[in-house]
Symmetry: D2
Subunit: 352 residues, 4 copies
């Protein structure tokens, strides 16, 4: 594709960790051209001032968040902003004919009251919201294909839902017994400096947070309920791990049929994901390291059944900034545009 045929794309919120991932992926994408970088705190600076290592590849300024100006120069817009901002911008971009992919939580909820009660923001864009599709292609690929607005899935939900999907869709487990013990690197906390994310605080240590109260809980529950065909509550506990990137989700549930053994469940998983290029079901007795997924769009799943307790345990590993954020957004874009789904999506990490 020649340069002038590339589709113009904007990245709003380019200076955060989601933004820098999008920049890298889109610079190497054969069908698009980055034409707009928007921000707030860093307007007027050049992107390469913020990230000098990338100066040899990109030389764009950070511009204002003015939706009409963005829409004039972009056909596709990625919004990588704090929660509550996308819903102020997206309707204006959509009205001008842009396709919009939002990386925040704003467009992940079908019921805005759930959003409002967990995020403490009021919302009036009910109609726009009703057209948004949840951006997790391995669950909602068909809907994404025809969407103009995608609310990309959260990082913890991506890891957890891919682990749970075969169990819930095939009715293998009692949904009231689901426990998700998740662990994330600190980049999930963003690039704004906070004391608890300092290396001197977070390195060499480990803790839980948001117990029984983390905002990804209702997001996971909404999709689990959709998959199970009944209302599902989950126990979700995130932990902060002394590493930069990666999420490991350890998921527990009681099997409905105590006669199922791990070979059975593995067969079900392999069959379920046999056509899913980005979900790798590991062989028996192999469980993933988060490191395996770093820099890629892959999700690795390891499956175990404890015959003593009647539980299935699924361990899921992703890169929180890639399959958990920017790469999955690019995957959604590829689907929305009718392009080959794997365009520009890395699948080999640089181990170790």
């Amino acid at each position: 594709m020649s340069a002038q045929d590339r589709v113009p794309v904007g990245i709003i919120g380019a200076s955060g960790y989601g933004g820098i991932q999008l920049v890298r992926l889109l610079l190497e994408h054969p069908s698009v051209q980055v034409t707009y970088m928007g921000g707030s705190g860093s307007v007027g600076q050049n992107f390469a001032d913020l990230y000098p290592h990338i100066a040899h590849a990109v030389n764009l300024p950070i511009e204002n968040l003015e939706p009409e100006a963005i829409a004039d120069r972009c056909k596709i817009v990625f919004l990588s902003l704090p929660n509550g901002l996308a819903s102020k911008i997206a309707p204006r971009l959509l009205a001008k004919g842009c396709k919009v992919l939002d990386l925040s939580a704003d467009y992940r909820f079908t019921d805005l009251q759930v959003y409002e009660s967990w995020y403490k923001e009021s919302r009036t864009d009910t109609e726009v919201n009703s057209k948004a599709v949840y951006g997790l292609p391995e669950i909602y690929r068909d809907r994404i294909a025809t969407a103009d607005l995608v609310g990309c899935a959260g990082c913890y939900p991506t890891a957890s839902l891919l682990a749970l999907q075969p169990l819930l869709k095939q009715g293998l487990v009692d949904p009231s017994t689901i426990i998700i013990d998740a662990k994330s690197g600190t980049s999930g906390g963003g690039r704004q400096p906070k004391t608890n994310l300092l290396l001197a605080e977070a390195d060499g240590s480990l803790g839980a947070y948001g117990i029984a109260s983390h905002r990804h809980t209702p997001e996971i529950e909404q999709i689990c309920s959709d998959m199970a065909g009944q209302e599902v509550l989950v126990q979700f506990t995130p932990h902060l791990i002394p590493m930069i990137r990666g999420i490991l989700s350890t998921v527990y549930a009681k099997l409905r049929d105590p006669g199922l053994v791990k070979e059975d469940v593995l067969t079900i998983y392999k069959s379920f994901y046999r056509n899913s290029e980005w979900v790798q079901v590991l062989p028996k007795n192999i469980f993933p390291q988060t490191k395996w997924a770093l820099g890629t769009n892959l999700c690795y799943l390891g499956v175990e059944v404890d015959e003593r307790t009647g539980r299935v345990i699924v361990v899921s590993a992703i890169d929180n900034l890639m399959k958990g954020q920017a790469a999955q957004a690019v995957q959604c874009m590829n689907i929305m545009m009718g392009w080959e789904e794997s365009l520009a999506l890395p699948k080999l990490t640089f181990y170790p």
Copy 2:
């Protein structure tokens, strides 16, 4: 106490991570004197050859594991050896009148068949084993006080059992719903070089291991069953974290009384551990970092109740090499000898 009144102590397996902790603690203990360091691979070397930083404080050779020679020079012996070795040495030390504290799994099981089936070792020292006491003072202080042989508690069991004790002893939870999702630094894997413990492999990554099969499972179950007064099976999943020291145990269980709120459960915990100097129950909404416990004999507990799901979640943090190993062994020794229980036990970490 003058030097000649100090009780002579031996450390067998001094060169490993358990050993070096014991050395540090016992060098600073006012009532003992280290008179024997035993090892296998490093016999003939000086301890300071292995750990040059400690040359200014200790200057003993690593000697053979000859029980009678050890007993001639020691009244108290710490065994910090691979599983299966202590049970070959301890009976001969006991026969010579030594008090023995074993840091391996050999003397943790009342039922040797359980040991044999999980550890794949056969055992014939049934009578000696029957006199061993499980070395977790906050549960078995009285028995430890009169014991000559203590099988010190494992690291994961210590963190998990202290979290579970009030729940099980007071019948607050359904024991069949207990899930323990535990996370440990890599020093728990010992000092023998293994590929998966290399910094280049383990840093920046996270994984589960021993799912549904880790040997600490039956140890936790034995003590839980004793506390609950009924047979208890637990779901135990350990994870390897990219840090050196520390264990965080996140424990889940269904409350029997759905009307209990977190203030109730916190009150019960504070009351239960009010006289336990080494167990710190944190205030409401505060959850521990493993870093808070590093270098100390403390266990920090944070308690939450999820009213939506009816579960209690307890988060427990210890230093795996201290409360999870060497410091707890010294605590047991202090109790066995009738000394002040807190002698030489650190309670302030060097944060950060």
Copy 3:
């Protein structure tokens, strides 16, 4: 010493990393009692709100920085504040008869013009400054013993000057050839959140900073010049290392006598520091790890001579927050008060 005989001590700037170290050391010091904790941003909070892990040991509020109020309740005051603040407070504390130990740079320079040009602060307390003693006991122990005001040595200078002292005092090297390549953990950057100190930025990476311009340069040069008896300029380059604590200083200089071999230089070092409990000269071919010094007041030195190039290379390791800051301040206090110099100073790290 009974509680009422303990000397009352204040820690001003208790909430930073220097402060929390001082708190820990002074809580365990047998001759003092902490009676005042002062701060600015956190006034009104309890110290245990900032550091919940320490609630079992200390329960004091953070109070205002009002010098006369402090002096009423303290005989000794540690100032652990940003540069430029101590010189506003110390004169008033001294006037009320307190002994003052300042951990900032304010009282490290005999020539205030040097301070003013490197620190961009103007100073009028010339007379008070002229009475300050540089707080590095292994160089200025006698002067510290009679001082009322000590400007405690910086972290990089401590590591570098202890490495250079024998070379400069004995005229072994050409001072114009000194290069100090130093490496520090990120806690040296303090607890105020900054983007470059986030784990997500600093972990897994390494960089130099302050090349040819770091403020510790004139401090090192002042003391080197004093030791050499001639003006000395040094090349000093600090680096930020992905770890919390510790400084390693690698020092290079040309030997004046090319016939000296490493055994000679080692002999000189061992002799020079034979009575210095806190400086450990390592055996031939052994070089220190920063980890060996963590949590202690020790400085480890390794010495090499390269006969091919005629250079001596000295590697020095300290804990930047202990010998490089808080523990050295306590050592100075012990000397100022005529107490045993090693009181409450740790000398065994908890390895690994």
Copy 4:
């Protein structure tokens, strides 16, 4: 290029860290096909048994190191073996018409006596060695283009020589004053388990090693001497840093002309490397983080002049396994084959 037109390539020593990087790069290289993976300890295993995360992309067995069998199936062979082995295999591969790229030290020295004295191996392949070219394209591109045997540059030498090249070729510094203080992640120590490379040992700590004796010293000196046109001795000190990948080399030298300021030297560097795609000279006052180079073939250079001391300081950052090893080998291959030099070479890291 269709699959059957791809050039068949062998990777000998595929299971180490150099090997896994080569596998990743060559799998994504459009002009080659990996047809042979050779090893020793892991013969008979499948590559995906060693690295399960890569099973979706490669499915080859590890085969024997039999040169004639290799030559039958490969036109290009990468040797990633311990020092001393390549020189036993390369002559036989060359005799069968293969092009050989050796990642060990065997073919880096024009004078085999230097090799023999530093590596303690005897060598008889003088004639083959005389045809080897030193594999650092930014210095020897023309010679590499016509070579059949390339001895790829070491990791520390690559970082150090790229920093020194403009200074030495343009005679700007006194070569007798060169000091190279280098810092490397632990992956440079390989994947064979060693105690000092365990996370529990190496994390949170820092030390120097090989002071005045590291084997990269004569390698650096050989190329420096060639660039300077006179014999050069350097002071080289490597350090082990608690991170996986990356090398930072801090290079010091006295300027011959004390009137040069940093703008002058920066201009010289930018001009010198203006056509070098893989060497990025940073703007004034910007110095590289090793993280900027991770996963790429780039070398970042920051330049400073200290007018007080008359020294130039150059800081150089690379990924030790990429520009310092595997990616540079692929760059050499591209040049040897007359392909576009940048084929399959990454130039955007995944920050953070």
